[in-house]
């Protein structure tokens, strides 16, 4: 059947209506599909959150034990001054005190600027670990002085002292000529580690 131009015009409106109806239908499907996908995503997220929360709830006894254990360590770290801002004056006092108490012939030190330590991923952002490297040069009467120095340093607190390097060598001076002249010389590198917890209450 061939159509005239007039007949085509008569068909145009229904065709337009048909297209409009089909477009409305597909629009409706697109809209509801979008809603459905969004709701499914929300459901997946809600299920994941529920699963996570329930897991936490199931682990709560373990968490309570863990909190108790860790709290003890945390409080000790705080008590000995590892947790908190650097106490450089306290370090200087401790060095002077050790030299005097141990009667060390010579003790020189230099503490470098503080640097952040690389830590494990996933750590909370408001907690940082810092290290300040200290170079120490000691004149010793005997080997035991080095061990005493390190022990006293650790006992002084205000940081965690991680010894990285120590060298011990003879000075070359003959023994017992002058009585108390140093026979050994030690040089050490020690990291003074502190922790800054910005969420901690005073």
């Amino acid at each position: 059947m061939n159509f005239s131009a007039r007949e085509f015009r008569q068909l145009a409106l229904p065709l337009l209506g048909c297209v409009a109806l089909l477009a409305a239908g597909s629009g409706l499907i697109t809209w509801t599909e979008g809603k459905r996908v969004a709701e499914e995503r929300a459901l997946t997220a809600a299920r994941a959150e529920r699963s996570q929360t329930k897991e936490r709830l199931m682990r709560i006894a373990e968490e309570e034990r863990e909190v108790k254990e860790k709290l003890e360590i945390y409080q000790r770290l705080k008590a000995i001054g590892i947790l908190g801002e650097e106490q450089r004056l306290e370090w200087a006092d401790a060095m002077a005190r050790i030299r005097t108490e141990r009667e060390l012939p010579d003790l020189r030190y230099r503490v470098e600027r503080q640097q952040a330590l690389k830590t494990v991923p996933g750590k909370p952002a408001n907690i940082e670990f810092y290290a300040s490297r200290m170079h120490v040069a000691l004149a010793l009467l005997h080997e035991g002085d080095l061990l005493h120095f390190l022990g006293d340093l650790r006992a002084s607190g205000n940081a965690y002292y991680a010894v990285r390097r120590c060298t011990l060598a003879r000075t070359g001076q003959p023994a017992a000529i002058t009585g108390l002249s140093p026979r050994l010389r030690a040089e050490c590198e020690i990291d003074l580690i502190t922790i800054l917890d910005r969420a901690a209450k005073a």
Binding site: R50, Y74, L150, R165
Partner: protein, 518 residues
Amino acid sequence: MKRLVYFTADDHSVYAWSRGRLTLEAKFPGDDLGVTAFREYLAGHRGALFYAVADLAGEDFHEELIPYLRGGDRELVVQRRLAQRYRDTRLATALSLGHVRGERRNERLLLTSFTNTQRLTPWLDALAESEAKLAGMFSVPLLAPALAARLGARGGRCFVVTANSAGLRQCYVDDGKLRFARLERTVDMMPEALAAFVRSETGRLAQYLSTLRVLPREGPPIQVIVVAPPGQRSAFERTLVSDARLSFLTIDQSEAVRRTGVKAAPAATGAEQLYLHLAVRRPPREQFARREDRRSFVLWQLRRAVLATGALGLAGCALYAGASWIEVLGARAEVERVQAETQSAQQEYQRITSAFPVTQTTTENLRATVVEFSSIARQTIPPEGSLVYLSRALEDFPLIEIDALRWHVERPGERGARAPAAPAPARGAAAADSARSATEILEISGRVGTARRSDYRAITAEVQRFADALRADPAYVVLRTQLPFDVTSEGTLSGDISTATDTGEAPRFTIVLARSIR
């Protein structure tokens, strides 16, 4: 609203049909004045939908055989046969009566047309000019099979006899297919007289068809379904007594009206109301109007089909969207339920954690602080342990004098980091551990104090014994031993044995000791 034009020999009526109700809208004489009046009527109903039903005498029926054909070829042959049979084929059609059993499967056709088409064409032209949508041009006989089925014909052969306004209409239907029809004009007569007329005309029709061999001479009686005018059924039944040739079934017109589904019709309307109703509700595929006469109707149907397609598409989409929406509602309800469960679990968690000891910080920070600090502490070791270990070993070697000690910690990934050589059985595991953990290294430089410094065998043995003593603790591994004299095949051995006295310099050695920090 649909309209029906009912053509008779005397006049032509226009009925409006709506939901089974027929109302007479106009009546026109069959002459030129009637055509003019019809044109004026159509001017007021432009584009209306019309069905034309002709109830005229002089309708021709002729059987033909054509070869078994399909599609365009069949149509060509049918048109050629119609053209051969009728001078004017504008109102001619062919009804298929089925195929002849046999190898060739020829098709039987019933060609039919009006003997005087000139009476109808001005009316059809008027319809076309008014842009009316002509659904079809039917004759009453074309509608008879549908009426027979409605009135309870059980297949086989039957006559359908009705008293129409145009006269007494008799149609012969064989297995639901029209075979022959005739219209006999009647005048007003008493019921008994009309019944007798029906009886005699039916007998004549049977006789005529037998003569033409359309009806077999022998065989069971032919069913004759007679629609009696309202209230005349009993008179008809008294007259129309069945015999060996004809078996009469008389149905009152009111009953026939009910069976065909006519809701209402003008009081004076005869049995033609049945055919008019069926023309709208059950129009047969075959009809007389040409394709060009029905063009407006086909176009209208096409427009409706296009819109219906759109509506159907929309309905389908709406159905799908509805199903999706049900899923959305289900998911929403599920989300709410899951969120309520989560909230409940969170509240329970809060309730329990509120009884925890005061931590002064968040649980996450507490955990991170202690875990990270423990990790750092594990990677750290003081030098005292190794120095004390060395000191104890030296107690058994009074000849060994230490000149210098270099102690440091190598962490994995640091430059120069090395894995201590573990004892053979544990070497694999130790190497793997050391790759992950730090190692403390103690480099011992010293001399062997002996009177005979040229006794290289004794000096070498002493250093090696000292190195072996340092291996006493399996945690410690001697990484390297540099002897005062290089006795390995890879090294260079040198000496000065020509002089009688010692140089005074004690032979020096170096031992590198390592221990993994776990």
